[in-house]
Each structure stands twice: as C-alpha cells, then as structure tokens.
Amino acid sequence: MRVTFTVNGRSETADDVWEGESLLYVLRERVGLPGSKNACEQGECGSCTVYLDGVPVCACLVAAGQAEGRVVRTIEGLADGDRLDPVQEAFVECGAVQCGFCTPGLVVQAHDLIERIPRPSDAEIREALAGNLCRCTGYEKILDAVRLAAARRAGAGSGPRGEEKGSR
C-alpha cells in the first residue's frame, strides 16, 4: 500500500509498504531517516521515540498505515539547520552520549518533557524517561543534560535569572 504523511515539515510518500509494517520501518528504510533507532521492536527501549501529531510515541508500535495523513517529527527534525536544539546541545556538553544508540529516543522524550514541564523535578525527569533504556551511561549524565536543557530554556524564558543548575 501507499502511505503519505508529513515528516519534519515535508510531505513524504512511501510505496509498497507492507500492511503489517511499522512506522519505524517506513522512516528508516523507505524515507531515509535512520535517526530513530530500531532496537527492541516491542516498545521496551524507547530508542525509536518520535512525535506523532505532537505526542511522543514508539514508532515501532505504530502501524505504518496509521500514520497516513498525520504529522511526524523525528530526531532529524529537532535541529534548525546546523543549529542543534538546546536538548541536543545539552546532551553533547554533559557527556550524556556514549554508544549513542539510545540517544535519539532520549532526546525526543526529553524535548517533550521540557515543552510540557519547563522546570521538571528529578522525579518528573525520571518518570518521563522511564521508557528509554540506556545500557552505557548509568543515566546520571543524561539527567544532568535534561536539567541543563530545562534550566537554559527556563532562563531564556524569564530573562535575568539566566542559567541555573539544579532541578527545581
């Protein structure tokens, strides 16, 4: 079947899509967007997290046909040209990336978190990232990165407070 949907602001059409295929497979193998990672294929690891109509979901658990006519934003759609999204910058600066396989999912999920909760508590960060597995880092530097991204974002929004480290 044919599936047409919007990805990162562009309309894409995939042909010869198998009816049981996942959105993740279409993104990686048919649309040329391999940023979303294929690890567990059962929603356990969060590596394939993308926005579907503005809501983060596991792309491996969305049937390709369910994306017809809908709006998808992947890790490739977060940066503005060469300018990284603040969450991506924070991951780089904090050393939150080791092998990198979990990173795209974690970045999208963290991006959604600070969109919804600009100053998340540590408990809120842990809860938001509970569906994203990282087998390298031990998570501490990932938490640092989310705190930094949130603090910068909140600082930019409220002006004089500037960059604040910390979670509340």
Binding site: M1, W18, E19, G20, S22, E41, Q42, G43, E44, G46, T49, V55, P56, V57, C58, C60, L61, V62, A63, G65, Q66, E68, Q109, E127, A128, A130, G131, N132
Partner: protein, 291 residues
C-alpha cells in the same frame, strides 16, 4: 494482509461484519509487538484511529462516565484521574509514557490478557463494556462477564468494543501491582479495591493470578457481612479478607513468578489496599476531594 481504514463507526462495524477475521488495531502497543515478532499474522488490520468519536468521553444522564475505546491511558489519567482514581492508578503503571500515549483501555479489553492492568479496577468499579455489531446492535456486558479465558473475551467475531461505562468513584479506590521495577512491567500479579460506602459494599479485582481477571467474590461478601463501617479496621477481619482474596486466585508458575508467591502477594495487596482505602475514608479526605 489488508489494511482497512474506516472513517466512521458504522463503516467499522460494516467492515468487521464483512471480514470478521481482521484484527482491530487501536494504539497498537500489543498488536504491533505480535506483528514485529511474527507471532501473529492476521488476515488484515482494522485501524480504528480515524474514528474520532472513539477518542472522546462523556458524562451520561445517569451520572456514569462513558469512555470511548480510543481514549489513551495518558488522557484517562489527565482528564478522568479525579473521578476514576483506581483506574487512573492502574493506568499510571502501564508501560512507559510513550506506551501510555498510545495504549487504551479499549485495546486492553480487546486483548483480554489476564495480566492487563486496567481489568482489576474495571471489575472493582463495576464497569460495563459497550460492544456493538452491525447485525445485532449494542450489547452491554458487565466487566465480570466479559473475560472468558486467557486472551478470550465475550466479544463475538463481528463485534467491536466501543466504550466502557463506569460510575465516578463513590468512595476511595486503590490499585496495587507487583513487578520488578516501576516502569515497563507486566504484572506478576495485581489487585484493585473500590469502596462503595453508601451501599456498605467493597468491590475487588484480581489481575494476573488466574486464567482471567476476576473478582474475589467471597472476600467481597465477607466484607459486606462483617465490615463495621463506623469503626477502626479490625486486624482479624483484615487478615481474613486477605486470605479470602488469595483463595479467589488460581495462579500458575511462570517466568514472572510462582503460584505460591502470587497467592501470598494477593493477600498482602488485598490487606494493603483495603487499609489505604479505609484510612482515606475515615480521614474524610475522600469527601473533601469529591466535594
């Protein structure tokens, strides 16, 4: 395989009548795992995402809530958590945020797994499942009559789940679940309780400790007969309630736990959830919250 994409409820029922062998897909969080691992290859998928009314809920004239089969766990928690607290607690234990953004109670009912997290609170809260077919119209099935076996329900091949109906909590409700961590856990076993103070009655639901989710009927009858609603909770009564709840389970040994462990844990969770609910009731917190 076919991919059927009805735009309306009537079209969906017509499609299911015409092709009863196709599998409905809502959030996809169960179905897609089976497809990805090639453990199931249905003749087709019937995508229900396009039917906007399924993703809505309403307050009905009789005071009950009617929640469409396409309302996600995330929305249920955010929009109905105050009125369906037991179900909202169970919903918070489902998978991960990404799973809760897609998964639905409707899908949980369709899968009818004994381990589904929504089933115990649906049983404890006397939920009724609204199903429909093009040929016979609507059937209203009490949750207690819905689960027939492991992954088998009262749903006929030409029927689809449209909604569930449930009264807003009339008393404290709690859910407890045993697993290895807080997220991404299929229940080892679970237990839900709902106090109905006006009727001097307590509802229960057992999960993942029998071929189907089920009520602990003898435990409910025991409380209806013996519980003094004006007094402190009697430890002997609490212990007996736990025993009766455990006796209502018929668990098996499997990869997630042993039958003995599950029976023990059901007794513990029954005592705990009743204690939590009792404290909330006696402290007046429930009335303040509801008022």
């Amino acid at each position: 395989m076919d991919f059927l994409r009805p735009a309306t409820w009537a079209e969906a029922l017509a499609a299911k009548a015409d092709r009863p062998e196709v599998a409905p897909i809502q959030g996809g969080t169960d179905m897609m795992v089976e497809l990805n691992f090639d453990v199931r290859r249905p003749a087709g998928l019937l995508d229900l995402n396009r039917i906007a009314e399924l993703a809505t809920w309403s307050e009905e004239a009789d005071g009950r809530l009617r929640v469409g089969a396409g309302v996600s766990y995330a929305r249920l928690i955010a929009e109905l958590g105050d009125r369906l607290p037991g179900l909202a607690q169970a919903s918070r234990t489902v998978g991960s945020p990404q799973i809760r953004n897609r998964g639905t109670v409707g899908g949980n009912l369709g899968a009818a797994s004994p381990a589904g997290d929504s089933h115990p609170p649906l049983l404890a809260g006397d939920a009724v499942i609204e199903v429909a077919s093009a040929a016979r119209g609507v059937r209203m099935i009490p949750a207690a009559a819905f689960y027939l076996g492991v992954k088998r329900s009262a749903l006929e091949p030409d029927e689809l789940i449209r909604a569930f109906w449930m009264s807003p909590a009339s008393g404290p409700q709690y859910f407890s679940k045993v697993g290895t961590r807080n997220a991404m856990v299929i229940a080892v076993c679970s237990f839900a309780i709902a106090l109905h103070p006006a009727e001097r009655r307590v509802g229960t639901g057992i999960g993942s400790a029998a071929p189907t989710p089920r009520r602990a009927v003898a435990a409910e009858e025991f409380l209806a007969a013996e519980l003094d609603w004006e007094a402190r909770l009697d430890p002997a009564l609490l212990g007996r309630f736990g025993e009766l709840a455990a006796e209502a389970a018929s668990p098996i040994d499997d990869v997630r736990g042993t039958a003995d462990y599950r029976r023990h844990a059901i007794a513990v969770m029954a005592r705990r959830t009743l204690t939590w609910a009792w404290h909330e009731l006696r402290s007046g917190r429930f009335e303040r919250r509801a008022g």
